[in-house]
């Protein structure tokens, strides 16, 4: 066989292989899982179940799936079942964008539930905005975003701080030590905190940022000891929060005199810190597992029964749960009209739903009216709610910025 013949053979084999590939389009372009039967409502579920933040983010997936199952078990939405298309974006922004593409462009879902981190939300934004889809984002975040394609289910800074900071000053004093991981959420929360402190006559004794995942806090704890602040205002997340709280405890600091006031610490972090080390400190959020209400009892009971007694519910997976019900209410409100992401969005505005935290409402700016709570951690790892807002608080994602308002028409400069 001459070389030329060999190469001809190779070329032919390549083409033949390609033909056989395109002969099985199902393998390359089809969906592996069952396609939605006509009449079903396709939605995307996009939470990381592997990778760096999977520990928390998978609990959002669990809560979201639980809500979908509950709805389907009770006859669906006007008799139509919700078909979840589940993807695992593996805590990686690029994968988030890729999987969102699949959901929105190929699977033709009419909404996507997903994301925990801001980075992943922003990675998905070009996809949902480009296709005018709807992204239900359950996490508290730093505000200053006003997309018409995102339903924001978590708190923005004014909903976490407006009551919290004055309360802290009243009970412990106005000298704050601001401590956070170095990314946009802590910086923005601290900007807001400074503003409130300026207004009410408090002061910032120090403002410090550590890299993500940083876990040695001995020098910071000694600076805290030196500065003797009244409150340690803390926006550390994940491992850093855990490491800091342990260091605080082993240094023998006293939560009664110098409590840690956190915006990010939920039942998940406290479970990792250990109840004893977290006891006595405070968090501000719209939801705690220990909140007493009939809806919450039902939610917690169903969640633990489904996923195990060692699991916890917290302020992010509660939102992941109720957002599915908000979606359901919006689809019901459309009453047989054509289901498009935009129609669902418009129908959702003003809808109220009795969530575990209380009755929530969707604002025209697509953020959610929530029930701020201040809670103190107990040694059993649960939070005891000490202050409960007596009214639903409106979301103002541009609260700290004069002249900018997020409205039904997007961001407006006054």
């Amino acid at each position: 066989m001459k070389r030329r013949d060999l190469l001809k053979g190779v070329a032919f084999g390549g083409v033949a292989g390609a033909v056989s590939l395109s002969g099985f389009p199902g393998i390359w372009t089809g969906r592996g899982t069952v396609l939605a039967a006509s009449g079903d409502i396709p939605v995307g579920v996009l939470f990381s179940q592997t990778g760096a933040v999977a520990v928390v983010e998978s609990t959002l997936h669990d809560a979201c799936m639980m809500a979908i199952e509950e709805i389907n078990d009770n006859g669906g939405i006007n008799g139509r079942m919700i078909t979840p298309y589940v993807e695992d974006p593996a805590s990686d922004p690029a994968t988030f964008a890729d999987r969102a593409n699949r959901l929105v462009r190929r699977d033709n879902v009419i909404s996507v539930f997903g994301s925990y981190t801001s980075a992943s939300r922003q990675a998905v934004l070009p996809v949902v905005e480009g296709q005018n889809n709807l992204y239900w984002y359950p996490t508290l975040y730093e505000g200053r975003e006003c997309s018409r394609n995102v339903m924001y289910g978590g708190a923005v800074p004014n909903q976490q701080q407006q009551d919290f900071v004055p309360w802290l000053k009243e009970n412990f004093g106005g000298r704050f030590y601001l401590l956070g991981n170095d990314y946009v959420y802590p910086r923005e929360e601290n900007n807001v905190c400074r503003m409130i402190l300026d207004e009410i006559g408090g002061e910032v004794v120090n403002e410090e940022y550590v890299p993500m995942g940083h876990d040695s806090f001995s020098s910071i704890v000694s600076r805290i000891r030196r500065d003797e602040p009244d409150v340690i205002f803390c926006t550390l997340v994940g491992d850093s929060d855990v490491a800091f709280q342990r260091e605080y405890r082993s240094a023998g600091l006293d939560p009664d005199r110098m409590p840690v006031a956190s915006l990010t610490r939920s039942e998940v972090e406290v479970a990792a810190i250990g109840g004893d080390a977290a006891a006595g400190h405070f968090s501000s959020a719209p939801y705690f597992m220990g909140h007493e209400s009939a809806e919450n009892e039902r939610f917690v009971e169903a969640y633990l029964r489904k996923y195990g007694d060692d699991q916890v519910t917290h302020f992010v997976n509660e939102a992941a749960y109720f957002q599915v019900y908000q979606f359901k209410a919006a689809v019901e409100a459309l009453n047989g009209e054509e289901l498009t992401p935009t129609a669902i969005r418009d129908a959702a505005v003003g809808l109220r739903f009795q969530a575990p935290q209380g009755e929530v409402e969707i604002d025209a700016n697509l953020h959610t009216h929530l029930w701020p709570k201040i809670a103190q951690w107990q040694s059993d790892g649960q939070a005891e709610v000490v202050v409960e807002s007596d009214e639903r608080m409106a979301p103002e994602p541009y609260w700290a910025y004069e002249g900018q308002v997020c409205t039904a028409n997007g961001l407006e400069n006054a």
Binding site: T29, A94, S118, Q122, D182, E188
Partner: protein, 376 residues
């Protein structure tokens, strides 16, 4: 024209046909998957860039994603400025968040598209040259090169995350405008964009192949085999190594620019540890000795990842892992090695047969005429 070059050309032609015809054909020349495929091509391109320095010159660059990420950020900076034109001071939103007063000087030139396109190649090349001068003049080789490139990449990544006033920090640069390429507004879901990426990939490979088959490429292969001996011949080893390293960085920079275009954002994860190691795996699976094979490895692994994650939701990472282990154990030269071995085998058989035929003719010639039967 020698045999190696001929084989390269044929492989390149087949690859071009695959990228230009077969891949788009698989999705009927349309659809969202073209966007994913364009992404795979960009990743294939960075794998090819690694093959150029690793496979040809023996420089294992564990920080290949550095120049890739720099390219992505350069493109994102240009697009971000375009998207921020209506904002106060023309400043990106994240700068307003962190109370930056005015657009920093090093952002200014990125208003210009031409500057951006040039910088996307030349800045990675510059980084590589600078690094190359220090490493290769210092005669640093092997695992130390890997450590230095890896740590430099991680340092830059940390810096980008911490300087969020200027870089967007952890979230990266998001909310980009579409690229306007001399009047053509690029839609990343169009066939034309796919061909733009494919064209860049093929051009990058052509540059790389040109280098490999030039005299410099010969010297580089000699360096890979034995740098000391090449030095004794009077060649400036460091200069050749820097040449390969910098060309590879330039190609990776272009790949990064394309990647940012496809995904419409730049993120510090683009220059992370996991993608850098993934690039090494892609090149290893395809075969690091050939840029085309490495590109094919990058495209193939990412395609498989896309399909497997779709078909086998839970087990796909495991399956991919098994494939990688199998390749490392049984095909240390990658798929290219398999093809090369098969080719060598067939070639050997062929020469053997030719030799046998020649022998027979000689034997025939040696025999008396009377014995030759029909020959009069």
């Amino acid at each position: 024209m020698n045999t190696g070059f001929k084989i390269d050309c044929i492989g390149y032609g087949l690859f071009a046909a695959f990228v230009l015809l077969v891949m788009p054909w698989m999705v009927d020349f349309s659809g969202y998957e073209l966007n994913s495929y364009a992404r795979y091509l960009a990743l294939g391109m960075v794998a090819a860039a690694l093959a150029l320095s690793w496979g040809t010159a023996g420089i294992l660059n564990l920080g290949q994603a550095l120049t890739f990420g720099v390219g992505a950020y350069i493109m994102a900076m240009h697009l971000k400025l375009r998207a921020s034109e209506s904002l106060p001071g023309g400043m990106p939103d994240f700068m307003g968040w962190t109370n930056v007063e005015a657009l920093p000087w090093f952002w200014q030139p990125f208003h210009s598209l031409l500057f951006t396109l040039g910088a996307g190649v030349l800045i990675p090349v510059g980084i590589a040259c600078l690094l190359g001068v220090f490493m290769f003049r210092g005669r640093i080789t092997g695992v130390f090169v890997a450590i230095i490139t890896l740590s430099l990449m991680l340092a830059v990544q940390l810096w980008i995350i911490s300087e969020q006033r200027f870089t967007g920090g952890e979230n990266g640069i998001t909310g980009l405008a579409p690229l306007n390429l001399f009047g053509w507004s690029v839609d990343t879901y169009e066939l034309s964009f796919y061909y733009l990426v494919a064209g860049c990939l093929l051009a990058g490979l052509a540059v790389g192949l040109g280098l490999v088959r030039s005299k410099a490429g010969l010297v580089l292969r000699a360096i890979k085999a034995d740098p000391e001996r090449v030095r004794f011949f009077g060649y400036d080893v460091a200069r050749y190594e820097t040449l390969a390293f910098a060309t590879s960085a330039g190609i990776a920079g272009v790949a990064g620019m394309l990647y940012a275009l496809v995904l419409e954002f730049a993120s510090p994860t683009y220059m992370g540890l996991s993608i850098s190691l993934a690039i090494v795996i892609w090149a290893a699976v395809g075969g690091r000795e050939s840029m085309v094979a490495a590109a094919l490895g990058g495209i193939g692994v990412n395609m498989a990842e896309g399909r497997l994650s779709d078909l086998f939701f839970d087990q796909w990472t495991l399956m991919l892992g098994v494939i990688f282990i199998a390749v490392v154990l049984f095909l240390p030269r990658g798929i290219y090695g398999l093809v090369a071995t098969a080719r060598d085998y067939l070639e050997a058989r062929y020469t053997e047969r030719v030799a046998m035929a020649l022998n027979r003719e000689q034997d025939d010639a040696a025999r008396p005429v009377a014995d030759r039967g029909e020959v009069k």
